[in-house]
Symmetry: C2
Subunit: 236 residues, 2 copies
DNA sequence: CTCTGTGAAGTCATTCACAGCG
DNA sequence: CGCTGTGAATGACTTCACAGAG
């Protein structure tokens, strides 16, 4: 176990490995080698070993990794053994869709509050879980009361920096940003931006020049494009 | 103008530059140097010049770039001068939220169809634009009729690969995937995955070890974290 | 004299390849 | 003997630094 700096590329991949292990565990597979794992999910075996190597020695030489064991380790590494409580700023379409999204719960994330500045919306409750919409001004208070540790920005780009500043003032250190805006944050605060506009525009570039193949970032290429093995399943 | 391979990191940044130029144009600024652009938006001036350099010589030495001119060039490079027609597979919460999202239109994207396999939903129309929900089996037909060139996957991970195969069969070459699943695609098809689970889990990792600073991918660091210049705006 | 465009250098990430453990 | 863990090699991306255009 070293104390090197861990790249975000590595943490992203750990999340992917965890997902793969979940699939394997569900299939009843008890043990797997880095090679088998790599082949099955289009990854690189050396990279798996290297990524895991930053955190310890979880494998057994000559055998591979015990699925349940490795799963527990990665869960711990990613801090998913402790629950996270999520707030969403912006009760628009995206914000409410995210509030209702059930996919987070598997990873121990629960949406517990929504914030907005629209008097019309404040006080209402959203979705089956009846999540309350609070006045954005009460954020510091609600963050404390509800023990929120992750905040999602789902507001227009125009006000994103202001909202980010409020979130930082409320003491939040981890933020998932959906606003297509360049944001500045303190160094002790982590902002992860998901930019749908950029994603689409990048796809548009690909369409605009089908001849000159765009080089995909290697990680993604491996993860998502298996060389030619087109596995055309029947149309449903 | 060279004919090198363009990295996806570059195309992502072109999209960001375009956004910055839009802001500048709106502010009435006619001309800007790579340095000024970099400072204003937390970018690196050499990288801006290098990125642009792959496509031509758009600047004027001693002056910088003409905002309107560069904007037109990048728009053309990204293929945003031609409209794109988008289909969404999955009429769940995420799919419908995306169908209603107005942010795409600025970039010349229009959502024209939704697909689902739920008989309850097929035939209905969604949102102000009354976008029809089609049977996913009719995808090849609707793709042709509506000239769809970009498809969004907003279905559960379980069926994502199957849906991707159907999309590829329908002749689509550019796909934005929201399903948290490892997908395989033909090499002539571009799949861009937006993985909310991985994003959140990566944030969780950051929270789990605040001591050892995670090294952010440099591009993002520059874009989103301006060294210490905390600009604490008043709470609204 | 300023700022672009670009080789060269530097930094970081991935893949190779193999020593050595179980 | 198979597979991990890891230095060494390769490759990709970013930043530096400066020649030369305007």
């Amino acid at each position: 176990m070293k104390s090197e700096k861990i790249s975000e590329l590595t943490t992203n991949r750990l999340s992917v490995y965890l997902r793969c292990l979940n699939t394997l565990a569900a299939a009843g597979i008890k043990t797997i080698s880095s090679q088998a794992l790599a082949e099955q999910f289009n990854l690189n075996s050396a990279q798996i070993r290297k990524d895991l190597g930053y955190f310890g020695e979880f494998g057994v030489r000559g055998v591979g990794y015990y699925v349940a064991d490795l799963r527990a380790h990665i869960t711990k590494i990613l801090g998913l053994d402790k629950p996270h409580r999520v707030g969403i700023v912006g009760a628009g379409r995206l914000g409410t869709a995210l509030a209702n999204y059930r996919g987070f719960s598997k990873s121990n994330f629960t949406v517990v509050a929504i914030f907005d500045d629209d008097e019309e919306k404040i006080g209402r409750r959203i979705g089956e879980d009846e999540i309350a919409i609070h006045n954005v001004k009460r954020m510091p208070l609600v963050v404390k009361q509800q023990s929120i540790d992750v905040m999602v920005i789902a507001v227009p780009a125009r006000v994103a920096q202001k909202v980010l500043n409020q979130i930082m003032s409320a003491g939040i250190k981890a933020i998932l940003n959906f606003a297509p805006a360049p944001l500045s944050a303190r160094l002790d605060v982590k902002v992860k931006t998901v930019d749908l506009t950029t994603s689409l525009e990048s796809l548009s570039f690909f369409l605009a020049r089908p001849q000159s193949k765009v080089t995909t970032t290697r990680t993604h290429k491996q993860q998502f494009e298996k060389l030619d093995e087109i596995n055309e399943q029947e149309l449903k």
